[in-house]
Each structure stands twice: as structure tokens, then as C-alpha cells.
């Protein structure tokens, strides 16, 4: 049992160490542009990707680095993508907010809020004709629950019983605005009933809870039971983007968030179960070392060739 939890801890630390290195590179200069970190939300991609099959499709958002890493996209190629290098997963065409790596089962980030949900329906629909037993997972934030495209996608998936898992990462803020101020009923999972699908609000800071519910939803989806909405409660420990002044935070809020964030929580659990501290903390060191090496390799790679900027527009 503690072996799996150590593996979860490592997977979460890989995400966090990646994100912290990205923040360092963004603040130092080599990475430019908008960057949205998922620090604090690591348990959701780690738990979900653990139960995805290679044939399943995964559509994330601009806060998608953790999802890509957890799905198996190599960190070095992700750093290279954010750094605009030739060796990036998209050779620098996608950037931090819109890269894809279908060869790893990661069908892309999306920097339009809610846009991935209808696309995921299509990936699921395709599975009905190609003999695969593919399910599609689409990830979005609480803010996307107020987008028309997400509503259309939920109804479309439900009407046709498509194998889609709608994963809502509810970090309580729609960008910079509290979601609670933007809806009249705060339990977003309750909306699922209106589409005729199951909806659950779960603890998104608990890897095991995420794994359990995503596995269950995938099973239902693949047995022709239709879509599920999972509202995963979480919080980001960082701003909406690097540079966000976070003046919307309330006094004491960050202390409360840190007290229940998923990595500290899992670490405390492992220690309480008697796993030696040096064994637990070696996981962090290992993840950080991996990301340092990956970032260094990406920084040493050549920039994307400007002569290729017009390529790949059409077949």
C-alpha cells in the first residue's frame, strides 16, 4: 500500500518540480508569455492518468502541464516546448498553453475555456466506429462550467451515451473571480442530473479518491453507460498565471490552502504510517533532480528554425 502511495507522491512531486522549474525559467527570462501553473492541483492528473488506458483520449486546458506529465509526455520535450525549442513536443508551435502530444495519448491542452469538451465528445464518438473501446476524458476548470460549449458537450455526450468523463477541477476561482459569485448553486456536480448523467463532488486533493472515481467513471463509460461529471475540489497554491497579483485572496486563505494541499497531505500520511522520513523525502529530491536534468537538456537544444514557421498549415 505504501509503495503505491510513494509512487503517487513521486508522480505529484514530478509535476510540482516541473512547475517550479518552469516558474523559475519564466521569471528568469528564457520562458516568455502566459504560463498557468497547476501547483496545488497535482492529485487530479496523477490519480486520473493512472487509470487511463493507452487508447483513451485526454483533452486538458492551458493549466495542462501536470496532465501531460502524468500521461507520460517526457519532461524534457515539454520544457523544450515552453522554451521554443526545435525539440519541443510541437517544436515550439504550441507553447505553454496549447501543446499536444497525441503519440503519448495527450490530445492537447486548449487555451479557449471549455473548448475541449465538445472535441472530447468527438474522440469518444469515433470509438464507436473504429472498434476501439476508447473513452475520452476532458478536463476543465470551474469557470468552464459557465461556457455554452461545455453545456452542449454534456448534453451531446449524455444524449448519445458517449464514453466521456468530464473532469472539472474546481479550484474555487474562475480565473481571478470566485466561482461562488458567478453561480447561484455552488455544487457544480449537481448539474449532471439535469443532463441525465451521474455527477460527483470529490476530494480533488486526494489521489486515491480521484483514482477511484475516475476508474469507476471510465468503467461505466466503456460499458456503454454514458458520461460522468466529476467535480474535483482543489485549490491552486499559485496565481491564475505567473504574475497574478492574487489580490483577490482573503486573509488566512493561503495558510488554509497549504494545510490541505495534496503533497503535504500525502507526505504526512506516509509518515504517520511509519514510512521513514528519509525514504519519503528522497522522492522529492529524485523528482527535482529529474526536472533539473530535463530543463538543462531542453535549454541546450536549438531554437525552432524560423525557416519552418510556415510549414504544416495544410496537407
Amino acid at each position: 500500500m505504501s509503495e503505491r502511495r510513494l509512487a503517487d507522491l513521486l508522480a505529484m512531486w514530478r509535476v510540482r518540480a516541473f512547475e517550479e522549474k518552469v516558474r523559475e525559467l519564466r521569471l528568469a527570462g528564457p520562458i516568455v508569455g502566459s504560463v498557468h501553473l497547476c501547483i496545488g492541483q497535482e492529485a487530479i492528473p496523477v490519480g486520473a492518468c493512472d487509470v487511463l488506458e493507452p487508447e483513451d483520449a485526454l483533452f486538458a486546458t492551458y493549466r495542462g502541464h501536470g496532465w501531460a506529465l502524468a500521461r507520460g509526455v517526457p519532461a524534457e520535450r515539454m520544457f523544450a516546448e515552453l522554451l521554443g525549442r526545435e525539440t519541443g513536443v510541437n517544436g515550439g508551435r504550441g507553447g505553454s498553453a496549447y501543446f499536444t502530444a497525441a503519440e503519448y495519448g495527450f490530445h492537447g491542452e486548449n487555451s479557449i475555456v471549455g473548448a475541449g469538451a465538445p472535441i472530447a465528445c468527438g474522440a469518444a464518438l469515433a470509438g464507436r466506429y473504429d472498434g476501439s473501446n476508447r473513452a475520452a476524458v476532458t478536463v476543465f476548470g470551474d469557470g468552464a462550467m459557465n461556457q455554452g460549449a461545455v453545456h452542449e458537450a454534456m448534453n451531446f455526450a449524455a444524449a448519445f451515451s458517449l464514453p466521456v468523463v468530464f473532469v472539472c477541477e474546481n479550484n474555487r476561482y474562475s480565473e481571478l473571480t470566485p466561482i461562488a459569485d458567478m453561480v447561484r448553486t455552488s455544487r457544480l456536480a449537481d448539474r449532471a442530473a439535469a443532463y441525465g448523467m451521474p455527477g460527483y463532488r470529490i476530494d480533488g486533493n486526494d489521489v486515491e479518491a480521484v483514482r477511484f472515481h475516475v476508474r469507476d467513471a471510465l468503467e461505466v463509460a466503456k460499458e456503454n453507460g454514458g458520461p460522468t461529471l466529476l467535480e474535483c475540489m482543489t485549490e491552486r497554491i499559485v496565481g491564475h498565471y505567473i504574475g497574478d497579483a492574487e489580490n483577490y485572496r482573503k486573509p488566512g486563505e493561503m495558510d488554509r490552502i497549504r494545510a490541505r494541499e495534496p503533497i503535504a497531505r500525502l507526505r504526512a500520511g506516509l509518515l504517520a504510517d511509519g514510512v521513514p522520513a528519509d525514504e519519503v523525502d528522497a522522492v522529492e529530491a529524485r523528482a527535482r533532480a529529474e526536472m533539473e536534468t530535463a530543463a538543462a537538456a531542453a535549454l541546450a537544444a536549438p531554437f525552432a528554425d524560423p525557416a519552418t514557421a510556415r510549414e504544416h498549415l495544410y496537407a
Binding site: 483520449a57 483533452f59 510541437n90 517544436g91 508551435r93 504550441g94 496549447y98 501543446f99 499536444t100 497525441a102 503519440e103 490530445h107 492537447g108 486548449n110 479557449i112 473548448a115 469538451a117 465538445p118 472535441i119 472530447a120 465528445c121 468527438g122 474522440a123 469518444a124 464518438l125 469515433a126 470509438g127 464507436r128 466506429y129 473504429d130 476508447r134 475520452a136 455554452g148 460549449a149 452542449e152 458537450a153 448534453n155 451531446f156 444524449a159 510549414e311 504544416h312 498549415l313 495544410y314 496537407a315
Partner: protein
Amino acid sequence: MPETRKLNYGEAVNAALHRLMAELPETLVYGEDVGLPGGVFGVTRGLRKQFGDRAFDTPISESAILGSAVGAAMMGRRPIVEIMWADFSLVALDQIVNQAANVRYVSGGRLTAPMTIRTQQGNAPGACAQHSQCLEALFLHVPGLRVCMPSTPQDAYDLLVTAVHCDDPVLVIENRTLYFGAKEEVTVGGPVQPMGGARVRRHGSDVTVVAWGAMTARVLDAAEALAADGIEVEVLETPWLNPFDTEAVLASAGRTGRLAVVHEANVTGGFGAEVVARVAGAGVPLLAPPIRVGAPDVRMPAAPILAQALLPDADRIAGEVRALVKG
């Protein structure tokens, strides 16, 4: 084997869809009312019966229709989706412009979106302002999309076949005033035609008139009337707008020394401006400044008598071209 059939424009689209569904098992046809009802114009009739659940009806959800087409195409299907009116695409432009058009480019070609969007546009008597717009210029501004506008039954067949065989997102803009037109001999079952190209619909030496879509027939009528006045019009139809056969326009305008571009869309920002700019930019010597003939920059009124006051018809086209030639 190729064969010839007498088909009107709508029937030609239908024949193309039947062929494509038969020859490409990865195709799907779906949209609002396209399955059991066979489409509001009857264009998808028979597909559900013949191909079962590969042809189906959807909720009135353009974002879901277009977005699911992007996702299905990424996964190896070749969806042919219908947006009942081009005006309705505006509620879901994100899936066309931000999503479909980006897939190949951003992934460096590792992910593609081979999907065809069939729609129809333009004014028909009594249509309101939200069912009358000509939006091709909007889509022609978007790199990554292919756009065509068939005007004959043969083109309605050929262009759709080419579009669906294309590995990129293609927008096929039909015109509902053409669906129930005269039956013509249409060759079906022939080889897939290459994308692009222009066609000289009438040879002439005094002026080149470039047209596409439903305006082509009106331009041909105008050319006939002008011939009686001794003005020989070269009518160049460009059914493909992306890729656009600029060379054909340059060559024809170079021969005649005069250029008019006619489209039903309103003139400002219309694709006619782009055609004129390309000819000007290429330095083709012209005897007179080129002209654009289109709807004026107003909304489209429902009353036929008001709409007719705005839309280019054969008389107005002939008048403007005559003025261009006579100076």
C-alpha cells in the same frame, strides 16, 4: 465506374454523399435534422437508411457538432457535418477558427482534422437578416481552412468529393436557391478532382468578371445582355476560394485589361477586395480601375422588394460592367 445522371444541384450533393459514404468507411454524416428527416432541403435523404448509424441527427448545438467533428477527425474518422445555415456557424466559430484550423499546424502535422463542413448561405426571398448572410470572406481570413462554393450540379458533386478526400478542414458553402434548380448531366463516380482551379465560363476580350457561388449565373446573364451591346465579357468562375487560382485571374485580366469581381456578400472586407488587391499587387496593366460589385454595407431586409434593392442582379451587374468598359 463513371456514369452520367440527370441531377439538380441538391441531388448532386446527395449523390456525392452516397458515394463518399460508400467509398470511405471512415466518413460520418451528421447535423441537425440530417438523419431521419434527410435534411431541411432533402440533401441528406436516404443516407440514414443506407448507412445506418453513420448518418444521424444531433441536438441543436453547433459547438457540439463542430467540436465533435474535430475530435472524431483527430481520431481517424472523416466527419461530414452540416451547419444548416452559414449564419448558424457564428454561434460556434471557436470550433472552426480556434480549433479545427489549428490542429495540423500546432501539432506539426502529427494530428490532423480531416473534416468537411457543409453549409449553405445567401439570400432567398423572404429570408430574414439572420438567414441571409454571405460569410465566405470571414472563413477566407482564416489560415488552415479550405473553402469552396459550388454553383453547378457538377461542381456540387465534384467539390464535395474533393473536400471530403482532403486531409484538412474544408468548408463547402452551398446555396439553397440552387438546390432545386434545373437538372443537368452530372458525371458521378469519376476520379477525385484536384483542389483549386478556375473555370472560364464564357470567353470574352473586353473585360474579366470573376464570380463564385450563386452570382455566377447572374454574371452569365449579364454577359449575355452585354454581348448584345457589343461588349465581350470573360466570365471566370472560381469555385475554390482557398486555394484561390490567382494566376488564372491575373492571366485573364492581363488579356482583357479590365476587372470586375462580383459577389453576393457586402463589399467591405469581401473577398473581392482581396482579388482586386492581388491583381493590383501583381502589376497587371489595366485600362480602367477595377471594380467590385456586391451588396452594399447594410443588413439584409426580409421583404423581397427591399432585399432586391440591395442584391446584385443581372441588370445591375450589366450596368456596372458596361460603365467599366465604356468609361
